[in-house]
Symmetry: C3
Amino acid sequence: MMDILQFAQLLNRVREMRPLVHHITNAVTINDCANITLHTGGAPVMAHAPEEVEEMVGLASSLVLNIGTLTSSQVEAMLLAGKQANHRGIPVVVDPVGAGATRFRTESVRRILEEVQVAILKGNAAEIATLAGERAEVRGVDAGEVAVDPIQTAETLARQLNSVVVVTGKTDIITDGTRTACIDNGHPMMGCITGTGCMGASVLGCFAPVVDDPWVAAVAAVTAYTIAGEIGGEQADGPGSFKWRFFDAMAGLNAEMIAEKAKIRQVAPSPNP
Amino acid sequence: MMDILQFAQLLNRVREMRPLVHHITNAVTINDCANITLHTGGAPVMAHAPEEVEEMVGLASSLVLNIGTLTSSQVEAMLLAGKQANHRGIPVVVDPVGAGATRFRTESVRRILEEVQVAILKGNAAEIATLAGERAEVRGVDAGEVAVDPIQTAETLARQLNSVVVVTGKTDIITDGTRTACIDNGHPMMGCITGTGCMGASVLGCFAPVVDDPWVAAVAAVTAYTIAGEIGGEQADGPGSFKWRFFDAMAGLNAEMIAEKAKIRQVAPSPNP
Amino acid sequence: MMDILQFAQLLNRVREMRPLVHHITNAVTINDCANITLHTGGAPVMAHAPEEVEEMVGLASSLVLNIGTLTSSQVEAMLLAGKQANHRGIPVVVDPVGAGATRFRTESVRRILEEVQVAILKGNAAEIATLAGERAEVRGVDAGEVAVDPIQTAETLARQLNSVVVVTGKTDIITDGTRTACIDNGHPMMGCITGTGCMGASVLGCFAPVVDDPWVAAVAAVTAYTIAGEIGGEQADGPGSFKWRFFDAMAGLNAEMIAEKAKIRQVAPSPNP
């Protein structure tokens, strides 16, 4: 059986360490990402100029790359920063927002995944299927219909990239190709605001530096985050009030609340295809 | 008489269709625009790299162009996206934020209006007067004093561009040069936060794809939006609490509430000058 | 003794004048900066294209430069805008976010301070120490440990630059090198959200144009802003609810509340080193 408390207590470690999480991220949710990093217990820094990203990575505990409003200058900065993060041995989290929607996005993410060793790749089912080479319908930055089994796709991709793969959805899937967990926390209200996915990557960036095993970090991060979403969602009257209640819930979250509410199940690995 | 219910029920159609609204927009309110699109019932996608905008337009139901923090690269992207939207026959909404304040803004919008067939052009009285070639005082991105009759100016410009023109203010004006409606909904609190204008353009982008007549779409969109502002404003203690209550109101709005509260009057066309 | 009422009543002057505050600022907190400017009583305009910044400065009452997500194109725009502001005689406020963290930031701010006469320079203790040539630990955009006496450092830098220097922290320091005030207002919650520093620069940009003496403007601005933070903080359940309560508090603030709550003390100048 999994030790829920082990995951729950990682939040305390985030708050003790206060990791500096360097983001190269999109313009839509950059403010939300900075705030959720603070509320989780990390310290955000946003810097995307190619002139400074390597030096900024030198101060950071982790690096979050999000392609939500990608430009060619950002791709350059992401590659520079990602390689420097690899050189320094700090974890890299990639959020392939809208991969599959345009060639520019798909090819840019592929290039990042080729040139940078990524600790955690987090996307919705369509984005992950696209990167695994499956056919998937991507509708802008939303997941459309995905024909394949998302767990098997994620496990295959995780083994291929030697990364932890997180597939977000009603049930979140976290796999390193060998161990696979499903998390059933969360609230429908999380889909009613923009930025829920992006903020999830920031929380992964807070947890990744506090434990050597990125799969453990990812399970703990997704559990904490979706429980905060649950608490915020239960109190909200609509998406506007959900957002600030979600922030309050994340800042007020503690290990006991996580241990009590966590719905994590480890699943048997899919047979290799 | 106008059929209020016809306008009110378009909100249901937005929610059934869930149109993908591609924005090329400013950095100030990009998060608000994404959220209000979700709360109205659409799906937002923000993409501004010249490398991908044409492909993204290919997935979209409408295109919103907002020049609030314009750069030369954005102008290029807007022209590419706008022409592709015309080619595909999806409606283009333009928000000429601050037109008249600088030559760069005025000339960029003029170029967009020349090279792209725009379904709905939405601005404040000063921006619209500037684009109509009238003298207007533009103070940054706020409307200053406008000497001319805004209804007549809007009607002339609408005929000239073959577009629907929306002039926002205490009373909102919507005209296609032949039919002109005035809407008296809204709340003073809407002027106390940034982004009310930009978000209005996003709501127009949600309604434009669900009905063939862009004037009907614009009347319905402005009515729904300003009624949500009214509901949010009545409950707010200040501009901070207004913003999230406004979001909650937009998400909770339905056709019955619109039909009950709408203050739409169709006015006789101005004599041609 | 200082006349608290003199400072308190400047808020009324901001609201009478409604100064247009031109920002060239970062992507993280640009929305917050626009909103706090409105809630203080100013009118924000955000414009950063080199093609238009000089013309936009021509309409503005003050200019706020913030390097939080600096790019080389922004440096160019800041220099153009800053020189034009000097030419027109309107006050320039500089927020050197993360100076000391990377050479790109430190050198860009140094260049701005050399080429532009700055009315008010506002940073945390580490940023100000960096710009004064002291050794300081800068951790991303947060202040780390600073070895030196921040008051003396600020006074020396103020004399050197002929600027007012504001050092933010638990106690805020405002000095022009001759007069030095310490302000003990504020709330710990202000450190729990992103943007508190950036928004402070916007409020300085609102107050700077309404009085000839930038030290008086800065004392009044910091006092008003931190009192709003206090009021918001006392009512908040967490950082999410703090943010909108803080906005409500800023919008609802008046001179009487400031006069009642202000904790300003003028301190004797440090001996010259």
